[in-house]
Symmetry: D2
Subunit: 360 residues, 4 copies
Amino acid sequence: MSWNTFGRVFRMTTWGESHGPALGAVVDGCPPGLSLSEADIQPWLDARRPGQNKFTTQRQEPDAVRVLSGVFEGKTTGTPISLMIENVDQRSKDYSEVAKAYRPGHADYAYDAKYGFRDYRGGGRSSARETAARVAAGAVARLVIPEVRIEAYVVEIGGDGIDRANFDPSEVGNNPFWCPDAEAAQRWAAMVDEARLAGSSLGAVVECVAHGVPAGWGAPIYAKLDADLAGGMMGINAVKAVEIGDGFAAARLTGEQNADAMRPGRPGNDGPRFEANHAGGIAGGISTGQPVVCRVAFKPTSSILTPVETIDREGNATEIRTKGRHDPCVGIRGTPVVAAMMALVLADHKLLDRAQVGPR
Amino acid sequence: MSWNTFGRVFRMTTWGESHGPALGAVVDGCPPGLSLSEADIQPWLDARRPGQNKFTTQRQEPDAVRVLSGVFEGKTTGTPISLMIENVDQRSKDYSEVAKAYRPGHADYAYDAKYGFRDYRGGGRSSARETAARVAAGAVARLVIPEVRIEAYVVEIGGDGIDRANFDPSEVGNNPFWCPDAEAAQRWAAMVDEARLAGSSLGAVVECVAHGVPAGWGAPIYAKLDADLAGGMMGINAVKAVEIGDGFAAARLTGEQNADAMRPGRPGNDGPRFEANHAGGIAGGISTGQPVVCRVAFKPTSSILTPVETIDREGNATEIRTKGRHDPCVGIRGTPVVAAMMALVLADHKLLDRAQVGPR
Amino acid sequence: MSWNTFGRVFRMTTWGESHGPALGAVVDGCPPGLSLSEADIQPWLDARRPGQNKFTTQRQEPDAVRVLSGVFEGKTTGTPISLMIENVDQRSKDYSEVAKAYRPGHADYAYDAKYGFRDYRGGGRSSARETAARVAAGAVARLVIPEVRIEAYVVEIGGDGIDRANFDPSEVGNNPFWCPDAEAAQRWAAMVDEARLAGSSLGAVVECVAHGVPAGWGAPIYAKLDADLAGGMMGINAVKAVEIGDGFAAARLTGEQNADAMRPGRPGNDGPRFEANHAGGIAGGISTGQPVVCRVAFKPTSSILTPVETIDREGNATEIRTKGRHDPCVGIRGTPVVAAMMALVLADHKLLDRAQVGPR
Amino acid sequence: MSWNTFGRVFRMTTWGESHGPALGAVVDGCPPGLSLSEADIQPWLDARRPGQNKFTTQRQEPDAVRVLSGVFEGKTTGTPISLMIENVDQRSKDYSEVAKAYRPGHADYAYDAKYGFRDYRGGGRSSARETAARVAAGAVARLVIPEVRIEAYVVEIGGDGIDRANFDPSEVGNNPFWCPDAEAAQRWAAMVDEARLAGSSLGAVVECVAHGVPAGWGAPIYAKLDADLAGGMMGINAVKAVEIGDGFAAARLTGEQNADAMRPGRPGNDGPRFEANHAGGIAGGISTGQPVVCRVAFKPTSSILTPVETIDREGNATEIRTKGRHDPCVGIRGTPVVAAMMALVLADHKLLDRAQVGPR
């Protein structure tokens, strides 16, 4: 099956392949009257854009977005917003070997097993290039939730984590790794460069925090806010794990340690003051008014220069090394994608909540 | 919003509260002609049933399921299958304190914030009692995927993990912890009993493996098999994290270490032989034919006897201790629920795949 | 495929067969805080109930509804509302002949062709008995749209239409035909009785008008208000046609005749005054603030005493006459079902509109 | 709300406005391996294309479709198929008057009431220009159901119906009215020309028949084949009524007259032989193997030269005449759209059926 729509009320449908003429997203269900132009979207695409430094793939894509519908005189009309990004720097010649054999860890074999054949150019639809469409749609989602501020940053590369004592959000934009710890950023520069030169790759962990989410978003039981975040994040290319709040660490706490005690809020503030946020801002699938926190693990890119044993399409043994242009650490460019998915899930849940309960 | 349907083609809709007269599930989209009676469902409910030993809540519920529709002369008819379980042992009197104040870590505050009030008896709809309906529906899902064998077991309680060298699947049914390591089970018995006596609680990690899933299930991009598993598992009460395959550990591997090299399969076997399964049986959101592996972290139950600071419904400071009957480690009884969600996701994806690609 | 959920945000899922132990509906997405008890639902079920006079089937069903979840202390909680109606007067013995051969005009052959076999007792899932669940769910939907008043009445039986000059809404409850024209009701009594005695059946046309729908409900392009009404009404058993506003008659008007000219509304009234309502209160799929008008054609019941040529399950020629208890004119008891579907569609669209645009 | 996706498994999402840069459809869920190029789609768009004779709007649009994704080496890949049509002949200057006042019968007022403002150029999203996207997607749907042959033709214009005795399918392409009765076509030429010269407009009735639909498609209860057809057809611009089979005429038959008696099929033919098709090929929401028949009523275009009383955006009385280029009878160009919707519904139901029941 193919299922390229995300969201229940605020919905995006994405399309496009790595080496097709273009890719895009149709955003449906966006409220009317919001100011929107390409300039609201382009900065988020630029943050994800490849080829900006030596730590990411050297594919050069301007990723210029066009808004083809749904906006009139600078405002959203409430009708579907079609966003298109043309592919410019496709080098299909790099993929002749991939056409014949399966790259381990890639979707090559699975796509062939499912569909009977595949668009092998750059991974076709399975390429992380698709995430450009999500980032574009996520930029629209942000307009729906102006009360929310989303931070996303890398907290670990190749097993080397940041020191939380050094955590400085203002550092995130100062290095090519979205790293909030200036010292870690320096270490990572060396690590990622080494991996790049060796044709190897590294994994990463990205953390994403949404501030300003009011209490009450989330649709129990089967569209819980945390469940939708988990599904949304796990669907990003190369992601293998998702945590909410303390995540796996919570399984090692006692009930007493894990309790997020509450005290009365300040006068005029209508919510409680929480003593901790082990829960990551979500209880029973509904936001509590605390920051929504999730962490996402990216595996190392499967595209490596070291030859790996594999089979060809006829089932014969062979080996393959991936010669194209690739990210040595996909988690880095995955960071804006994580933020976009957070925005998409929250926008959808704001509208879902409004449907049933009314405005907050 | 309320969203109580799970699945796209094979769908379950659940209903019911902890202390209402009954709870249930409507299973829709089940293929016709499958043999089904209460006897196919009851054993799975019995596995999840409370009150069977001192390590779980002492609430006594027979959890007897009735099939109210969708079956004729012992076969599914292709029409909706209504499953109902009556609640028997509700002690609503235990919850008077909960009505007035919020239990930290519970959904109490979030439900009030969302809906304006809540059914406070036993947590109402937010109670893990709802998972009985999932287990019943999961039993039907299993009939749809006879080619698949699902194993679920606990690999860690309170931070104490099993020794993989001791892993013995036949041990899983021999102890009250679904533990595949007999030695760990003994240690856990002491730990959980201590927590129980202290009115405390412990977290757990559950692993679930599905054997026999053919290559090709999964609906990229936004209904990837791993994304749906992540969403399904994260929506289980008390779950805070989900991993596929190596999960967070994959973020610490290099691309070389993480590669699941392929070799030709045996003659007559139409799939490749994989050298490893770091990917957990899923690539690009599509199954590879290897075992599908996920791990799920349960936080410690929020219901503890130690008083915790909180606020009452008027926002005043108070403290609360949860006096009802509760599980000292919800991960234990969560294990059959994890298995049920695996079955539900796989049944849905088998049918989704059949819709687009045809039968395998 | 089986697809037993109706609605996008306010959703009902129905289950049950004509001769199973019970049938029901799960209503999901209902706003919290609405007063709801069985007494709010029962009158609508009573209106549809069989066996109340000689013009409907003599099956005696009390159709007593139970609310099994989603209500606490008399208010909806925002969680799923499970409604159950037990079947009491099943006479399965009447259906032995039906098990072997196909009743022309019934769903017997189609169900067998699709599912390979069928629950032949009373038509199983294809029985109009399922509509009791819709009426129950529709009663909940009415609570969501208190601003709307729905009228449904029969305007034609067996080709004999009412005289619009005699139209008196207060007559609708004074006769067993939901007829707003007292004279027509008298003629119909004779006609339907004659058909009943002859073991024959008659068709009918039902009109339904919703007053008080504000301008702005409807979700273009593929969930237009009129499209959802058409789909909802056509899905009622025995319905073969649906019109909005002038319907087929509009195809015979010129543009000048069909124009619904607008004039300024009264001061303090924020909408325009329309000179006519050829459009039936919907333009571009969105309500205009005028009454929403639709008309629905019911075919004559296929269950007749006159033998009809048919085939048996093995494909051999035979003939069949339907001996069970049946309605001589299903359109009569279909009238409350039409009203229920109107309520369900409008409730869903009120919430959909609120999701995107906010409250009106 | 905005809801621009149609279908459950075979889904299209359309976007675009009358006077935006382009419009399009994303087709998701299409099976892999089907031959597809622009040449498979263009002829259907050409059939719907405006400006081809004096009986349709003089807007000149080449309606050239581009396939932007989902096809590799001439075959569908199973991933989303993005179809785009550029708008070429927009004359926005024609719409200054429409910006200020509401055209009765158009969606102008309803869109303003819903969204607070609207793209008034050519009706924006509410323009029938959107149906080009449906026709393009419908061309893809046809590839999914090669066993089905769809005929669509006009049976009535301005109240003047064809003579069924003259019915000749081969005539349909011989006149600009998709008319199967050569004599009626001549009469209509005079009628439509007169309406065109007078700046008036006429309604029409379109009939659509699908041959070759096997028994068993349809998803009871809430995605019945006839319900989905009714919803799909009613959502076409200017449609006000939908009938299946005998439709409203069935309400005037007795049960005996309406019975579609069955006789054994020919040897080697696995279905029965029906004596009539009053049901229009659908019973209980499931296809019977007979031709699927529906009829659709189009109102006269609301765009007429005769001034009509209306109000402006401030609520003041004014009058309006629509000076742009318009179809004097939208039903004519609606005919290929009706056929496309039939193809879309059937393709979806073929796949839905395959999901639950398996291949036929």
